[in-house]
Each structure stands twice: as structure tokens, then as C-alpha cells.
């Protein structure tokens, strides 16, 4: 066994144990217990699903709202992708970052933003009354509209990022050849541009559909009693109705669906790379802001970005309009005293969130870092790709399902962690480590191997090379991964909501609880907390954008 092989072996063991214990085992237990009837019902999984019209109606809603969200996001996203791909304008990279902001924002923040935006005397209400549309009651908007808008806002950046990159790289000469061969712009659009974009559009559509299909926080908070996705149903069955067996069965169905999507996506991606095998220099023409058309485009982008960020603006606006000052809600938040059973201490929530996020990001970086080092081995590329795909599995497990899996797996012997903060931290690290791998691995893989070869020839030891070459080159990736894992943990909602106990409340859970209780004080506390959370995530986002290498690694 060579030196590197030996190192690899010892690097992989802790990763394998961690994944085995906290990803494979919970999912396995979910399967096992849902089919074994151990939850005290005699009915088996299949019987549970059959004849249950309620579940089927929710499944149907989950499906069509996801489909509708996807179509709407594409309709808005594709022209946006065109603008970002084909035009140069001042502040482009800032705008490109800003449209990604909602994607990293915690769902509770987006949800509360929408509630603020459409509330009586919220921004929209005031605008409508200024332009004389007093009768238009925005606060009466249907929950479905909320859900669709929120999904568009979340997923818009997926379409932008995936589609605009391909659009940007369409060789200008293909369009010129088409033109010389007699093709007008409609022909060119339908016969050249769209067919080339098709895999990218499909790929982004699949991701948008998947995120909308497994949407939880937004639907839970904005859907009211009327609308519910399977994800919300799992949560309700688990925590409100204590029907774990039904929840587990739906969770399994959910996982299977998600992996079908991911599989289709990887097939599309493969087709996609094959189609772009032509290795000629691409000439890309970009238009500058010189004519009227470009100015119109520039302003439409600004308006678009502004509309995308409106819910976040509304959140800030609501805080002021509810109490007249910025500061009062925050002062009140920390003076907040209540001894009811449902009381949530803001201090406790903030302390918990920070503690969990710090520990979880540490674990994520440890696991993700070791995994990246292992995966960067150039040996046996096929096996590495397979292991890489396997390590990405948590990305496809919806948070609520993961929480349920933990609940099912670690509430019994041999590992009984009921009510312990450890389960929440573990769940957060599971959700976070794939982001760490995606931040570090592309950078390690981009280090030219002749760098190591020359270091070797110059007589450096493995450890010396690691310290003098690898670390200086990857520290940015590690830092980005850490911040990512931290941001993911601090905004995590689905699994925390299933796993928390009274003294383990995190910020997002606290926000949800405040909003669930009546009174201006609760609302104001929820808004203030949301703003704190949004600020923390925003800062992390800015840091990530500043530190990461452009073009290396991505969110998806």
C-alpha cells in the first residue's frame, strides 16, 4: 500500500462511520420500522397509503404546486438568465449575488417577509392606497399565491445561475453560421439557442421542482389550513397526531421521489457534458450599455432584483411601522418575560442557535474536509464519483424527513438521544457537510498535479507538501465551507422543528412559535428575531461571496 493509499484509508474510516451512523442508519430505521409494524399498528405501510384520500389529496397538491412553481420560475427566470448572460452593465456581479440572496435565506425569514409585505398597512397596502386602490385588500391574498411567490423568489437564482452560464457560453459563431445559412431570429431561437439551452433549462427545472416539492417552512407558515405539502404532513403526523408509522411511510415515498429527480438530473447533466464536447475557443459577444434598449434592460434588472428582495425590505419596514422605531422591538425582545407554557426565551434561542451552529459547522468541516481529501485522490475515478454521489445523499433528504429519521433511529436503544441537543447538532452537520465538500473539493481538484509532482521531486514529505502546498491553496475553500455550514445550521428549520425540546429552541423555531401566538408583542418579537437571523445570514453570504474563488464551486 502506497503512502497516499494508507493516508486515504485512515481518512475514510471516520467519514464512513459518520455517514453510516447518521445518514444510512436513520434512513434504514425509517424503512425498517415503517414496514415492521413496530409502532403499534397492525396495518402495514402499503395499506396505510391505500384508501387514504386525505394523503392522496395532499400528494396531488404537492405535485401540482411544485409543477406550477417550476413553470412560473422558468417563465420569469429564463429572460433574466438572458439578461445576465448577454449584457454587461454596471453592478452586474452585485445584482447577480443579490438574486442569490433569497436562496440562502432561511425559509422562516422569507415567510415572515411575505407576511409583512402583504399585511394590512404593509408596503403593498400603502402603495395601493397612495395610487387610490383602497378597496384592494392585499391582506386577503390566497395562501397559494404566497406559496408560489415564495417559491419563485427562492428558486429564481437557480434558473439564473444554471441557464445563464450555458447561454453566456453559446459560441457567437453558431448564430452567425445560422444567419448566413438563411435563418431569421425566430428560427435561430428555436433551432439553435433553445436546443442548446434545453439540458440546462431541464436541469434547473428539475431542481426547482424538487425544492418546491419538498418545500416545508414556506408552506407551513404561509399555507394556512388550506394548503399543505407532504413535507408539512409528515411534520404534522409526527408532532401533532403522533402517527409515526404513517409519517415514516410518506417520508420513504418522499426520499424515493427525490432520488428519482436527482437521478434524472444526473442523466441530463451527463448528456449535457457530452453535447458540449466540442473543444473550440468560444467567442462570446456582449452588449454594453450604450443604446436605449440596453438602458431599458438595465432598469428592468434593477426592478426585478428589487421585487425579488421586496419581502426582505418589507420585513424591515414592518418592524418600524409596528412600533415606530427600529430599536424598540429589539429592546422589547430581550425584556420579553412570560411564564406561560408556550413561552420561548429569545436569549435561550439565540444562545442555542449559536452553539449548535458553531459545533455543527465544526463537525461539517471535519467530515467534509476529510471526505474532500479522500475524494481528491486521482486513483480509480469511477469509484470516487460513486462515493462522491453517495456522500451527496443528504442533499436529497428533505429536512423534515431527516428529523423524523433521527427521531425514529435515536429514540430507542442502542442509541437513545431523545431530548438531547446532540441530535439537532448532528442533523445540522449532516445537512451542512455536502456544502463543505462542494466548497473544498473543486479547489483541491483544480490544483495541478504537477505541483505535487515537482514538490515530490524536490524531496518534500507528504506532511510537508500538505502544509506548504495544499493548505495555502485550499484555506479559502475551507473557510467558505465553514461559513456555509454555519449559515445553513443557523437558518435550519425543518429538522430542528421536529427534534427540538423546550430548552433546545433555535432562532427559526422561536420565530415560528412567536408567529403562532396572538398579540403584537409576539409578532414584534418574531420580526425582530427574523431581522437578526437575516442579518447573520446576509453577513455570511457576503463573506462567502467575497472569499470564494469565482467560478469554482457553487451552491447547487
Amino acid at each position: 500500500m502506497s503512502r497516499r493509499a494508507a493516508v486515504n484509508f485512515f481518512v475514510f474510516i471516520p467519514v464512513a462511520i459518520f455517514i453510516g451512523a447518521f445518514v444510512v442508519y436513520p434512513v434504514f430505521m425509517l424503512f425498517f420500522r415503517s414496514f415492521s409494524g413496530e409502532f403499534g399498528t397492525s396495518s402495514n405501510a402499503i395499506d396505510l397509503l391505500r384508501d387514504n384520500n386525505y394523503i392522496w389529496s395532499i400528494a396531488w397538491f404537492t405535485f401540482w404546486q411544485a409543477l406550477l412553481s417550476t413553470v412560473l420560475t422558468l417563465i420569469i427566470g429564463i429572460p433574466g438568465a438572458y439578461l445576465f448572460a448577454k449584457y454587461n452593465f454596471w453592478g452586474k456581479s452585485i445584482f447577480r449575488s443579490l438574486v442569490s440572496l433569497p436562496f440562502v435565506m432561511p425559509t422562516v425569514v422569507i415567510a415572515i417577509g411575505f407576511i409583512s409585505l402583504f399585511s394590512a398597512n404593509g408596503i403593498l397596502d400603502r402603495v395601493f392606497s397612495i395610487i387610490g386602490l383602497d378597496g384592494f385588500r392585499v391582506n386577503g391574498v390566497n395562501g397559494l399565491v404566497f406559496i408560489l411567490l415564495a417559491h419563485i423568489m427562492f428558486n429564481y437564482s437557480i434558473v439564473i445561475r444554471i441557464v445563464s452560464v450555458v447561454w453566456e457560453n453559446i459560441d457567437e459563431r453558431l448564430l452567425e453560421v445560422a444567419s448566413i445559412l438563411g435563418s431569421n431570429w425566430v428560427d435561430t431561437l428555436f433551432r439553435i439557442i433553445l436546443p442548446i439551452l434545453y439540458p440546462a433549462i431541464l436541469s434547473s427545472a428539475i431542481l426547482v421542482f424538487m425544492f418546491s416539492f419538498t418545500s416545508f417552512g414556506v408552506v407551513l407558515m404561509l399555507g394556512g389550513y388550506e394548503y399543505s405539502t407532504l413535507e408539512v404532513l409528515i411534520y404534522q403526523l409526527t408532532t401533532k397526531m403522533f402517527r409515526l408509522e404513517t409519517a415514516a411511510v410518506i417520508a420513504i415515498v418522499q426520499i424515493v421521489f427525490v432520488y428519482i429527480f436527482l437521478y434524472i438530473n444526473s442523466v441530463v447533466q451527463q448528456k449535457f457534458t457530452r453535447d458540449y464536447g466540442l473543444s473550440y475557443r468560444r467567442i462570446v459577444k456582449k452588449e454594453n450599455l450604450l443604446n436605449l434598449k440596453s438602458v431599458i434592460i438595465f432598469f428592468s434588472i434593477i426592478i426585478l432584483v428589487f421585487v425579488m428582495l421586496l419581502p426582505l425590505v418589507a420585513l424591515v419596514d414592518r418592524i418600524i411601522s409596528i412600533s415606530g422605531t427600529y430599536t424598540e422591538p429589539f429592546i422589547n425582545l430581550f425584556k420579553f418575560r412570560d411564564h406561560s407554557y408556550f413561552f420561548v426565551s429569545p436569549w435561550q434561542a439565540i444562545f442555542n442557535s449559536l452553539k449548535f451552529a458553531l459545533i455543527a459547522s465544526f463537525i461539517s468541516v471535519l467530515v467534509g474536509g476529510l471526505a474532500s481529501y479522500y475524494l481528491s485522490s486521482k486513483r480509480n475515478q469511477n469509484r470516487m464519483n460513486l462515493i462522491d454521489a453517495f456522500l451527496m445523499l443528504p442533499l436529497g433528504i428533505p429536512a423534515v424527513v431527516l428529523g423524523l429519521g433521527f427521531l425514529v433511529a435515536f429514540s430507542y436503544d442502542p442509541i437513545d438521544l431523545r431530548g438531547s441537543w446532540i441530535v439537532i447538532v448532528l442533523a445540522h452537520s449532516i445537512i451542512g457537510y455536502p456544502f463543505v465538500i462542494r466548497s473544498i473539493l473543486p479547489i483541491i481538484n483544480n490544483i495541478p498535479s504537477n505541483l505535487y509532482d515537482s514538490a515530490n521531486v524536490l524531496g518534500g514529505s507528504t506532511m510537508y507538501i500538505f502544509i506548504t502546498i495544499t493548505i495555502p491553496l485550499i484555506w479559502r475553500g475551507v473557510l467558505v465551507g465553514t461559513i456555509f455550514a454555519f449559515a445553513v445550521s443557523i437558518g435550519e428549520f425543518g429538522s430542528s422543528l421536529i427534534l427540538y425540546r423546550k430548552d433546545l429552541v433555535t432562532i427559526p423555531v422561536a420565530i415560528y412559535r412567536y408567529l403562532g401566538q396572538p398579540g403584537d408583542a409576539n409578532l414584534s418579537a418574531g420580526l425582530a428575531m427574523s431581522l437578526i437571523l437575516a442579518t447573520v445570514v446576509f453577513m455570511s453570504f457576503i463573506l462567502i461571496e467575497r472569499i470564494r474563488f469565482r467560478g469554482v464551486g457553487s451552491y447547487y
Binding site: D171, R173, L174, E176, V177, A178, S179, I180, L181, G182, S183, N184, D187, R191, I192, P195, I196, Y198, R274, D275, Y276, G277, L278, Y280, R281
Partner: protein, 357 residues
């Protein structure tokens, strides 16, 4: 006349590319555009194709003024240096593209594509993915695609630029034969002299914002009008010089390597400030310095021998520059050795003076 370009002027923000450029191409003629890189060879093709608009002048194709006609309606064919095959289509669809935009019937398209496939030795390639073709096959598909709609003129932008030498040699022959058989009018861009000699009926030299000389390979080779043409044709021994005197029938030019005598022909217009002189390497004799007391010889050191097939080229270092001579392969003279200092004699009959502007 298939292509008539008159007084073409084109400028970009910072520079003028063409000033009053003229070019005429007859039907069935293959004209090669030869020029240094950056002189705008590709730009000229793009202007003819209508991918960019001209500032002044006219472009006529088959007698029709096309200045304002969009590229999709000009009826030209163009093959790009990097081919730009449509990556999402198979070979058949690539070739059929221009026929489909013309709304040809299915049968016509099928027949025409089959015809082109067999013409270019691509039988059975119709369903192939273009990414799986070899370099030469891609080249032929791109050519077939450009030929499919039977264009009035075919513009080829360094069509063999990305291929290795042996493949280039084979393909340039094939392209020449094929296009001649089809009697297609062609404007062909290259920077490779040998390729131009093989392909061209006439070679057009582009420099200083216009076409400076046009003619058959032999004409231009025997009589390059300008030093830049000579350079493009691969001529060495070009020196700047100014007239400093006259001696009988000879003009004396002062150059960087010393004084060169030129037999003064009556029709030669000499720039009083500065001219460019070309010394044909056949007119350079190497002599043993010990046996010579001639004042008009140059002293040079033999730096290198280069095997050129029919002869050896010798690079000599003289004071102020370098000069190239040719000697027979089996030259036996003992003083011709690397590192030796020898005498270099220039025969005035082999010196020409360019009338550069």
C-alpha cells in the same frame, strides 16, 4: 463578376481597418487572401457575409448591391476557422440546416445532403454525432454545410488552420479539386504561403488597409511589388536602405549591413528617403576571405546550415544584421563550416528595390 468590392472603408472606435479597398472576383475563380495576422482578413469575410456593416463603399454579389441586405439573405456560404458545427445536431442536420431555412421539400433536402455526403466521402455519416468526428471529418462536414444551399460565393476562413501538416496537405488538394469541379467562386483566407500556392487561381495580398497586389502565384512570386508582399511570400534578405550615391550604372544604397550596389534600371522610381531592398539568396556568393581583396564584399560568420531539400540555406552573421545564402547540397568547399568567417558577395543583378508607399 460574382463579387465586386469598391471603395470599402471600415473603422472601429480606435482604428481604421480598411480604407478604400477594392476587390473583384470572377465566376468560378478561387482567390486566396494572404495577409499578416491582424490585418483584417477575417473582418473582410465578415463584411462580405454581412455579419458586420461597412462604413463606406459598395459590395455587390452577382451584380446586386448587398450593403444593407442582412446576412441571412445574401446567399453566401462561409466556413469558420473553428468550424462552429452545431453541437446539438447530427451530421445530417448540420448539413441540412441551410436547406431547411429555405423551406426545401423533405425529398430535396434528403437528396442534396446525400449528394454532399458522397461528394465529401462522408457516406453513412449522416447519423453521427458531430462531436465524435475526427478533425478532418469535421472540416468536411463544415464544408458540406456551407455548400448545401449552393451559395453564390464561398468564404473560407483559414479552413485548415487547426489541422496538422499531412492532413492539411491532403485536404487542400481535395478542396481545390472539389471546388474547381463544382465551379464555385471562392474567397479563401490563409496566412500560409504554400497553402495559397496550392489553392489559388489568384492571390490577393492585404496590407496597409487595402489589397496591395493581386495576381497568379507565379506573377506575384516573380514580381512582388512591395516588401510586405515579399515577406508574406517568405522572402528573406530584406533591408532598409537610402540612396547615398551613384557609380556608373549603379545606385549605392546605405543599409544596416553596409553599402549595397543596385544596377539602376530606368523605370525604377526611387524613394529619396528610404527604400526596401531585397537580395535574392541565389545572388549571394560565399567566397574564401583569404584569397580576396575585393573592397565590395561583406565579412560574415557562418552561423547555421539549414537543409531545404534542394539546397542548403546558410545563415550568416554580418555586421548590423543577418543574411541568408544558398549553396548546393553537395558543396565541397572546405572553408564553409559553422563558425568560419567568410566573404559574402552580392550580385547587383539580384537586388531589387521595392516601391513601398
Amino acid at each position: 463578376m460574382v463579387l465586386e468590392i469598391k471603395g470599402l472603408t471600415k473603422s472601429y472606435e480606435t482604428s481604421t481597418i480598411f480604407q478604400n479597398l477594392d476587390l473583384y472576383i470572377e465566376e468560378g475563380e478561387m482567390v486566396v487572401l494572404l495577409g499578416a495576422s491582424g490585418v483584417g482578413k477575417t473582418t473582410l469575410l465578415r463584411l462580405i457575409a454581412g455579419l458586420e456593416s461597412i462604413d463606406e463603399g459598395e459590395i455587390k454579389i452577382n451584380g446586386e448591391l448587398v450593403n444593407t441586405i442582412p446576412s441571412s439573405k445574401r446567399g453566401v456560404g462561409m466556413m469558420f476557422q473553428d468550424l462552429a458545427l452545431f453541437p446539438h445536431m447530427d451530421v445530417f442536420s448540420n448539413i441540412a440546416f441551410g436547406l431547411r431555412t429555405k423551406q426545401e421539400t423533405k425529398v430535396n433536402i434528403q437528396n442534396r445532403v446525400e449528394e454532399l455526403l458522397s461528394m465529401l466521402h462522408l457516406e453513412g455519416y449522416g447519423n453521427r454525432n458531430v462531436n465524435q468526428l475526427s478533425g478532418g471529418e469535421m472540416q468536411r462536414v463544415a464544408l458540406a454545410r456551407a455548400l448545401a444551399p449552393s451559395p453564390a460565393i464561398l468564404l473560407l476562413d483559414e479552413p485548415l488552420g487547426s489541422l496538422d501538416r499531412p492532413l492539411r496537405d491532403t485536404l487542400q488538394d481535395q478542396i481545390r479539386f472539389l471546388l474547381k469541379d463544382l465551379n464555385i467562386t471562392v474567397l479563401y483566407v490563409t496566412h500560409d504561403r504554400d497553402e495559397a500556392f496550392v489553392v489559388a487561381d489568384r492571390i490577393a495580398f492585404i496590407d496597409n488597409k487595402r489589397i496591395i497586389q493581386i495576381g497568379s502565384s507565379i506573377e506575384v512570386y516573380n514580381n512582388p511589388k512591395y516588401s510586405s508582399v515579399a515577406k508574406l511570400l517568405g522572402f528573406k534578405n530584406i533591408f532598409k536602405g537610402t540612396v547615398i550615391g551613384k557609380e556608373q550604372d549603379y545606385l549605392i544604397f546605405k543599409t544596416q549591413i553596409g553599402d549595397i550596389f543596385v544596377k539602376n534600371p530606368k523605370d525604377m522610381i526611387i524613394d529619396p528617403i528610404e527604400s526596401k531592398l531585397y537580395v535574392d539568396s541565389s545572388g549571394i556568393e560565399i567566397i574564401d576571405i583569404k584569397n580576396s581583396s575585393n573592397q565590395k564584399i561583406f565579412i560574415g560568420e557562418i552561423r547555421d546550415f539549414r537543409f531545404k531539400g534542394d539546397y542548403n540555406e546558410i545563415a550568416l552573421k554580418v555586421s548590423g544584421g543577418e543574411i541568408f545564402a544558398r549553396i548546393p547540397i553537395n558543396d565541397q568547399r572546405s572553408y564553409i563550416n559553422r563558425g568560419n568567417v567568410v566573404g559574402v558577395k552580392i550580385d547587383s543583378k539580384y537586388v531589387r528595390v521595392f516601391t513601398d508607399l
